[in-house]
Subunit: 221 residues, 2 copies
């Protein structure tokens, strides 16, 4: 919850955890539902309670670029500007906690820790975007998919076994590929022994078998 789930209030591990003073709202979205649209005024900050969210931009001819996936615990919508630059949609059925921006800013005036938290949230988004620039601009398909799998594993549970909430189409639009290329890259990685693909359409399960091999494709220095 934006709230006191945690005993550790050190601002790094759980930013905005100590905001009991602000009113919290909870809201549920069906799979595919829009949470906010590009250019809408940014009224709330959100935290994922259950489910997953994608934020994206569109070109006028329909090409889509997903900027980020937000998983359980993630905070998003912190556009430090008046209006959103992305559209946000529920990837699966999703519950969010939301908090009024304005209220948060008022609180931040009196609370230096909260201010720092807000800056940290912004900085984290920036870091992610910057890493993604390198991926989109300079990595080939196999490298993109390998990087994606390592990112998701780390963010879901780091066990190497994951059931992805998003479709191949979503992954493709996140990585700047076609969905067919995502498929082919996964099969290739599977054939290389780096991972195993099990489950059917509704339960896409991926298990990382050889993390080392994936890391060798994820060659940031």
């Amino acid at each position: 919850m934006f709230t006191r789930t945690t005993t550790n209030l050190s601002s790094n591990s759980e930013p905005l955890a100590n905001c009991g003073a602000a009113r919290l709202y909870e809201f549920s979205y069906r799979k595919g539902a829009e949470i906010y649209g590009e250019k809408e005024p940014a009224e709330y900050i959100y935290r994922v309670k259950t489910g997953a969210v994608r934020t994206y931009k569109l070109l006028s001819d329909g090409r889509r670029q997903i900027g980020a996936f937000h998983l359980v615990g993630d905070i998003f919508g912190s556009t430090s500007g008046d209006s959103h630059r992305f559209t946000a949609e529920a990837v699966v059925d999703t519950t969010l906690l939301l908090m009024k921006r304005q209220r948060l800013e008022v609180l931040a005036k009196a609370d230096a820790t909260l201010t720092r938290d807000l800056l940290n949230v912004a900085a984290k988004s920036l870091r992610h975007a910057e890493d993604h620039l390198l991926l989109l601009g300079r990595k080939d398909a196999l490298e993109k998919v390998a990087t994606f799998l390592l990112e998701m594993d780390e963010r879901i549970n780091s066990t190497g076994a994951m059931t992805l909430p998003m479709t191949r189409h979503d992954i493709a639009d996140y990585l700047g590929l076609s969905l067919e290329t995502v498929c082919r890259s996964l099969t290739r990685l599977s054939r290389m022994g780096a991972l195993s693909l099990t489950g059917d359409t509704t339960q896409r399960k991926i298990t990382i078998l050889d993390r080392k091999q994936l890391r060798s494709l994820d060659l940031e220095r």
Copy 2:
């Protein structure tokens, strides 16, 4: 300067302009000189007084992705984290104004406007990065170059006539293309009548002749 160049202190137009209280340093860099390296501790915030700066990431095999160009007046290095995520280099001979991060943070504690400025600077970087994601992931070569020219025109003087400080190679690494493709795209745009290329190697001058045509290639909705 980070200083009082401006009479308008409204935080939107000239963030961090009112920091007379903080000590300012001035430093010059030769063309190609490194300003800071990836993973170095982030000690300063910078503002371009004259010249231009590129910030980039490298893959271990040498592929480079330029994240942003910083022109006169731009503020950069505001990694709200301990260390830099990019390397910064002077594109041409450059003079920077710098200010200690730590000092700035101390001042920000007492000054809500300054805090807001810092958030705004971070937000602006984020916005730029997010726009660039769309470009890198979903635009073709001609669209990338058209978008680039419109961005540069707007940031330099909006007159349609500009002398770019960066090389074709820099542009390529910014747009996720090869330098040859950048060349070919420029020639194509020139042949289409959208712009004119004049000057020699040392004075790369580009004049936009048909802004409408460029905009139709820059099809964000």
